[in-house]
Point group: C2
Chain length 705, copies 2
């Protein structure tokens, strides 16, 4: 039974439970299913099982490594997707004793082979020992991964690994970090060692084992970009509320909620260890709380600490001792904030790589224009920018014409059209360059109506197919008199008169990456002295990022080209290693002589030692744009325009993931290079290690002029 | 409205209609939708539209090639998938007049650009002129195809092209074939010329224009393997039944049904030209026939020739003049035979390439065994084979023991177990080699029970994981006393006693391709003299095949390796250029000394000149297997075992499609090569042209020993 009906949090709605070895798996799945859990984590073999000696019998036969009575037996594939296997805990491929080591390796291979044969979706692996102390374990995992096609290995990773005894810990000092405090080692380091040795294989994921004390929230955030497949939540970390029900401490609640948001499943481990009153008593104690509803209503049934006071969900008669834990997970899941409509629509784009458009080289399809036109927030911002520009012009003209009505109602939202007569007799010449199907013409006409300004509009568009739509709009709206349609490339067109205002929407996810600078430099030829460009300026921003999923998707292409391409992507499971920093800025009109749109800059990002080490997969890019004065259009997280969805961030990958030690620095160099027929970026890492310059001479990716 | 609710015939359930130029496409789509049609084929521009002269204006602007009032205008993508565009008929890129030729090329490019901009799914292209007489047309199409990403071009192809006047036809004699009779040229030749010049691009398909007279049924079959996207059915080819309703001649009915079965859509073209009585009169004339139901019931409402007598479907009030044509298509669609359960389950595998299993190298997953175990028909055949073998042994023993009950009830289906005592005291030793999860053990035990024979079974299996399932079966069934489980490779195991019967299921889609010969040669060491192998023999069969879809899918990998790999595939849209011929045969036990399982053979397939030319994409392979005497197991079409689904055919691709002229021969050479650690096939074409030997030295594909 799912924790809640909402699908906006992916797999998080399915909860699992660790169970003892079972002789009858359908019955086990069914009984825990009645209790609420969607899948079980079951040992692959009996605790007592050990592999037989590897002798070949006289007749060429081999002793069977597994006996039916010793192993998790699944007769039909129908049960396989409700079972996650668990490898025996006694296995120590790095034991000092060679016999135990050899037996461990054989047992590990046998159990993984059996799990793959059964078609299980995943297997939970025992935790690695201290960081750097399990090379043979990593070796066996790496070999196993090569032959797996779909079964995932979930490596158990304690968030904090208890510090080993001094004798063992003496030479592992490097891994002791501020993250876990004096009491332990950083579990992330152990995880990174194993997965780096397994070359970041995509079927290797982490099952995070949550202990009673948590590392700092800042260090926990690193996991957002890692392939965390499950959260193992022992019953022992729950405390009891005043009615005896299991509840989690506040920090643990936030941890679980954070992983729910990333679509990560929770698995309850251990035996029930909370004495819960019988259902009748509980129902009496919390009347009216038999049905937990989403957040607001459920809040009424919780105590001051946010914990439920003792309630039941959908089936008050269910009396399995682990039921209260499942109910508590339901409570946490249903309490999650409701995801807004826009984010739900974007859910299918999460962490999905797209190659940026080349609107200059290619003609866009009607449907692409249609999609972008639906971003009403963006065009409202453009309308506001044109409105402000028109009002400023009116004010300036009024000032020039003498002291007439100096108290100009600049913020009036709907000045009557009749007031147009009160402004200068000459209409304002506004040119929309790159008019597409005409949304900026529409926004400008709305702004003019509000400002009571008379406009003469030129809509310049190079795509002859898009021009047909503008023709249609002009006739439908009755604008044929004041809008002139020009089928031309703005870089070559000779305007019949200078423009007072030049409006364009040529920005890409990284600001200048769709060649707005080059296009507007060409178009500003026909801007009147003192004329206004909307946008006025834009700046790109960059931050180092952990994103295992995207790096894997790029790697899956198996070529250099894809590692040297920036992608447009709705970043979801990612972690910024440091706050963003500004990179390149462009201002319009550009008064430099000669104009040079090539750029170079290097940035250095520093990390707080208390946040621990992290892995770097590339850089996330954003932009901020001043349309006109303080009318800002932004996809930069600190200033993101509300409800605007036209742009996802950009992602610059690195060929190889890079380990960034605790307190380390990330240095990056970025070039914007220009040639007669193309523009491209090159990028390289300078710290913590120097890396190869990506996309030299634009060999893999460029934007055509 | 779909022609019928069944989904087993793919897109065939959607019917279209050609409409005149429309100023208001949503209204047009809606009105024809009410009439029943799911999509319209509409001209992209007005008939009168011609491209403007290609001059650049003084100011750098270009004249717009399209005006809103001249072109098919679609405002929102919502309508785009209900419209197929149609390119103007006047366009002649191969006209003798250079001005017309140039204008045609410009117009074609403009119209295709507009269609792509609108996001249409497909565009119908005018028919090519006589075969070999439209190089410029093919050139423009080929250029356009390079920049398309999803819009398909449907080339109108008349099934028969009227013979050109002698002046033009003098040098195109090669294309005149027996297919179309003296009155015309073979439309397939025109199609092949264009698509071959466009390098078999996957977005180029054929829209077959059906005329009043049809080519021979045998020649029509060629289209099954071609990318036919639609059948254009002019109203003029319909005749009227005695009540005035439009009906098709018998041959046309069969043609439409054949394409429905391949999932091809029908488009009605032309104006209504049948005077249909008003609905009231029709209803009165055919009482009780207001609702057409699938085949059997509907048959009651048709005349002796299979034509409907005048009926209405679901909406008797609909009076659009094209409605009776749509209703007739409904009638034909719903009359199609019901697809059996097995074929429906296989529908998702149709024309889907799979690389064959390597069961010898890899251990199969439990789910794979489970799927194959569901083929009850196959195990029933094995049971019958073991039963016959046991009965023959009993008869032979009885004969050897003297004249005791010579009238042996060999056909008794369930001899009492007690009769076992009446047979020899020594149980029959039966070895199942490659026992998997035990289905052949089960089938053998059933056969023994029926035959009243006592068995001593050895189940030999090399996959230690599968062995666990047999352990389970033995305990559940109580067979532990009579079945010995052996975890070993049959090629190395030393049997404790000789086997009377050796049962195996090691066959692949091509018979020997999963190395059954090599495995059984190893296992026959422990077969007693005179012992029986089940299977006793198997033979592979080959036929040349047209299958555009599969060839494209192989080509999409863009490497040589995939062209040198045989695939397991449920052939659907394919055409065998000639009947199959036997290739390699293997017999067990193999008494040759030394045993040589390598093979070489060459086959020559001849085509009837009346069937026309065709294109060759590769070879389809099948097998026939004698399990025991006349108990046959076969996927060879002429003898396919009923309801057996364990094997799909095999497909050997050729690197390049090959034109096979009418009456031409197809010659092929095939090698089965053996090396110490692998076995592979090589294949090459010897006629109509010699081609490269594929997969030399097994460089791309081999089966590991």
């Amino acid at each position: 039974m799912v924790l809640g009906k909402r699908s906006d949090y992916g797999d998080a709605k399915y909860a699992g439970v660790q169970v003892p070895f079972s002789d009858d798996i359908p019955k086990t799945v069914e009984s825990y299913g009645l209790c609420g859990f969607d899948f079980v984590v079951a040992p692959l073999v009996r605790e007592s099982w050990r592999p037989p000696a590897p002798a070949v019998l006289d007749n060429g036969a081999l002793p069977s490594p597994l006996e039916r009575s010793d192993c998790l037996y699944i007769n039909s594939s129908q049960w396989a997707n409700q079972v996650v296997g668990a490898v025996s805990d006694w296995i120590q491929p790095d034991a000092a004793n060679p016999a135990l080591r050899q037996r461990s390796v054989t047992a590990l291979k046998t159990q993984l082979g059996w799990a793959a044969h059964l078609g299980l979706q995943a297997v939970v692996m025992p935790p690695p020992h201290a960081p750097g102390r399990c090379p043979n374990y990593a070796g066996v995992l790496n070999q196993a991964l090569q032959s797996l096609t779909h079964m995932a290995l979930w490596l158990t990773v304690p968030l904090v690994i208890p510090t080993p005894t001094p004798a063992h810990g003496a030479d592992s000092g490097a891994a002791v970090s501020a993250v876990a405090g004096a009491g332990g080692l950083d579990g992330w380091e152990a995880w990174h060692q194993v997965r780096a040795q397994c070359d970041h294989h995509n079927l290797l994921g982490a099952a995070l084992l949550v202990g009673p004390t948590l590392p700092s929230p800042a260090s926990l955030k690193r996991w957002a970009g890692e392939p965390v497949k499950a959260l193992l939540l022992p019953t022992a970390v729950f405390s009891a509320n005043k009615r005896g029900y299991p509840v989690l401490p506040k920090a643990h609640q936030e941890l679980v909620a954070a992983f729910f948001r990333l679509g990560v499943q929770v698995v309850i481990t251990g035996e029930a260890c909370h004495a819960v009153p019988p259902p009748a008593a509980a129902a009496a104690a919390a009347p009216g709380a038999k049905q937990v509803t989403p957040a607001p209503a459920a809040a009424a049934a919780v105590g001051p600490g946010g914990e439920p006071l003792g309630f039941t969900v959908t089936d008050p008669g269910e009396s399995h001792p682990l039921r209260p834990y499942w109910e508590y997970l339901c409570f946490l899941f249903r309490r999650l904030e409701v995801v807004c409509e826009q984010e739900r629509q974007e859910a299918s784009y999460r962490d999905y790589l797209q190659v940026p458009l080349q609107p200059l080289q290619d003609n866009l399809e009607s449907q692409t224009y249609e999609t972008f036109e639906k971003d009403t927030q963006k065009y409202t911002l453009y309308e506001e920018a044109v409105f402000r520009a028109l009002k400023d012009r009116q004010a300036a003209e009024a000032a020039a014409a003498g002291p007439r009505d100096p108290f100009d109602p600049a913020n009036a939202t709907d000045a009557p059209a009749a007031s147009a007569a009160s402004t200068s007799g000459r209409p304002v010449v506004l040119m929309v360059v790159g008019a597409g199907r005409g949304p900026l013409v529409r926004a400008s006409m709305r702004a003019a109506a509000r400002a009571g300004a008379r406009l003469r509009v030129y809509a310049v568009e190079k795509n002859p197919n898009a021009v047909v739509h503008i023709q249609h709009m002009l006739r439908t709206e009755g604008w044929s008199d004041c809008v002139t349609l020009v089928s031309a490339d703005m870089r070559h067109w000779q305007a019949p008169e200078p423009a007072d205002i030049l409006v364009s929407e040529l920005l890409g996810s990284f600001g200048d990456n769709e060649l707005s600078p080059e296009c507007l430099d060409g178009a500003q030829r026909f801007l009147a002295p003192g004329g206004i460009s909307i946008p006025q300026s834009y700046t790109s921003f960059l931050a180092p990022v952990t994103t295992h999923k995207l790096h894997h998707d790029v790697k899956a292409y198996k070529d250099l080209e894809h590692f040297e391409t920036p992608y447009v992507v709705r970043l979801h499971r990612h972690y910024l290693l440091a706050p963003t920093q500004p990179l390149f800025t462009f201002v319009h009109p550009n008064t430099d002589a000669p104009i040079d749109n090539s750029r170079y800059d290097s940035l250095v990002f520093s990390r707080d030692p208390a946040d621990g080490a992290a892995v770097l997969h590339g850089f996330a890019g954003y932009f901020e744009c001043a349309l006109y004065k303080d009318v800002l259009l932004s996809i930069h997280p600190p200033s993101h325009s509300v409800n605007m969805f036209s742009w996802f961030p950009i992602f610059f990958p690195l060929r190889e993931p890079v380990y960034v030690p605790a307190g380390g620095e990330v240095g990056v160099q970025v070039w914007r290079c220009c040639a007669p027929h193309k523009v491209w970026y090159e990028w390289a890492l300078s710290a913590p290690v120097a890396g190869p310059i990506h996309n030299v001479n634009g060999r893999s990716y460029w934007v055509g002029l």
